[in-house]
């Protein structure tokens, strides 16, 4: 895999689902999230108004049920909500959940022994 690998955390810091670490990579803040055991990395940056997106609450999202009536809460633990204005992004893809034209990069994450590496 191409790209430069940066050590951003130890495995124990993001060992459990819901764990999150925000690291500095040459002046850019990058967050690593544990979602159901898988690690995902996003820049700590909201494309809306430049907020520290990844410091926001990790939530689910509301969708319309197949019956056209019920509101169902899905993707628990997979959505980060921007602390400034509430824009929501899918942690696993970097895409805004309501407008896929709005997205931030999603970086690959690797484990190397006790090190967690972000590939940027």
């Amino acid at each position: 895999m191409s790209g430069v690998r940066y050590r951003v955390a130890t495995a124990s810091e993001v060992a459990e689902p819901g764990d999150r670490v925000i690291a500095d990579i040459e002046g850019q803040e990058v967050a690593v999230f544990n979602v159901d055991g898988d690690l995902h990395a996003l820049p700590n940056f909201c494309p809306h108004q430049a907020a520290p997106l990844c410091e926001g609450e990790v939530t689910g999202r509301m969708v319309m049920g197949d019956d056209g009536w019920s509101w169902e809460y899905v993707q628990r633990g997979e959505v980060v909500t921007c602390p400034w204005h509430g824009w929501k992004f899918d942690v696993t893809t970097g895409k805004n959940i309501k407008d896929e034209d709005v997205a931030i990069p999603s970086y690959d994450v690797e484990r190397d022994g006790d090190d967690v590496l972000v590939v940027r």
Partner: protein, 376 residues
């Protein structure tokens, strides 16, 4: 779109093949309608006849001050019935060189203010019978009418749409849209949306300053003059209705429906689109019924009639810029004749011809309406 192109401009209104007036009023009186009340409804006809002032005792029309004082180019729209006949409408079309007219009511813009639901249904049916009988002619689609429905009785409104939807002369369904309680995003109105979609008819929302006595958006009690009431009732109605319909996912639930908002001008549209997109992204858990930005539903399923364009003083080019922001493909020229705030076709044409390309100009003046209303 190629804007400001030197080539491909339409230089004169004469070069525009088709001009459609997408909001051409008739001025019906209660007396005219009573002649068209079905015999089975004689009891309700007698009640309406008994009203000393049916505009107030049956409808709840109550302007803060009399509308349009001292403006009588076409007669007093509320008493002389200047476009209460086909001949009068034809004369207007000839004077202003309008090829097609899509009719709208005047008094029945206030149909939602009728307190008695049964009376509202009877009046809606009578209006539709009257307008079809008096204004439309078989084999001639130069004057077409929507079916006007009573929003306070959605099930009966759906029956009216089914009964009239295939009639010669019918091109749409019209919802008198000021003073709707509940607002039009509510599932209460689903029978109306279903019937319009089933009949393949666009759904018109026309606001009205006669419908502001009690209900949002402009309450008569605290507006001291008609100017205050009239200036805000149209855009406020349109903004409130559009917000309700979008956030309650009406266009998502009825993807084959086309919606037309009439008589609020154009300037409110970009502002409202930006504001709704912003709220959609910030409060997304409250609007799970939408699959795309509200503005994209507007682009795909809504058109707006242009009148009243407003006065831009020494900067008429600002109107063309505003139209570029709205998207000219979503706008349709309308005169509003014979009401005293009407726009002749030149009022729009002269301000867009040097700024927008030929396709956009022709679309706004008539060709988009040809598509929306299925004109031949």
């Amino acid at each position: 779109m190629a804007q400001h192109a030197k080539a491909g401009r339409t230089r004169t209104l004469d070069a525009v093949d088709v001009v459609v007036d997408s909001d051409a009023h008739v001025t019906e009186s209660v007396d005219q309608l009573l002649e068209y009340v079905d015999e089975r409804d004689e009891g309700l006809r007698r009640i309406i006849e008994d009203a000393a002032q049916p505009a107030h005792d049956i409808y709840s029309v109550a302007h803060p001050t009399p509308p349009f004082i001292h403006t009588d180019a076409f007669g007093d729209v509320y008493s002389d019935a200047p476009t209460g006949s086909l001949e009068a409408k034809r004369a207007e079309m000839e004077e202003f060189e309008l090829d097609y007219s899509i009719l709208s009511p005047t008094l029945n813009l206030s149909l939602a203010t009728v307190n008695n639901d049964r009376a509202a249904v009877v009046l809606a049916k009578a209006y539709n019978e009257w307008v079809l009988d008096q204004f439309t002619e078989e084999g001639d689609d130069s004057i077409l009418t929507p079916v006007v429905i009573p929003p306070q009785a959605p099930d009966k409104a759906a029956e009216i749409i089914d009964d009239n939807g295939n009639e010669d002369g019918v091109c749409a369904v019209s919802v008198p849209s000021t003073g709707l309680v509940p607002p039009p995003g509510h599932r209460w109105y689903d029978p109306i949306y279903e019937a319009a979609e089933d009949n393949g008819l666009p759904l018109l929302f026309h606001s009205g300053s006669g419908a502001t006595a009690d209900i949002f958006p402009v309450m008569r009690k605290w507006t001291e003059v008609y100017a205050e009431d009239h200036a805000m009732v149209h855009p406020f109605t349109a903004m409130w209705n559009l917000t309700s319909m979008l956030f309650q996912a009406v266009p998502a639930r009825y993807p084959d429906l086309q919606f037309v908002f009439q008589e609020a001008g154009v300037g409110w549209i970009p502002y409202t689109k930006w504001r709704l997109d912003d709220h959609y992204l910030e409060l997304s858990d409250e609007v799970p019924g939408l699959d795309k930005l509200p503005s994209k539903y507007v682009d795909d399923q809504f058109t707006f009639t242009t009148q009243p364009l407003g006065y831009t003083g020494d900067h008429p080019e600002q109107l063309a810029k505003m139209i570029e922001l709205v998207g000219p493909e979503n706008l349709m020229y309308a005169s509003d004749l014979p009401h005293p705030d009407f726009d002749p076709p030149e009022e729009l044409f002269d301000r867009i011809r040097g700024h927008l390309d030929d396709e956009a100009v022709r679309g706004m003046m008539g060709e988009t309406a040809v598509d929306v209303f299925g004109l031949s």
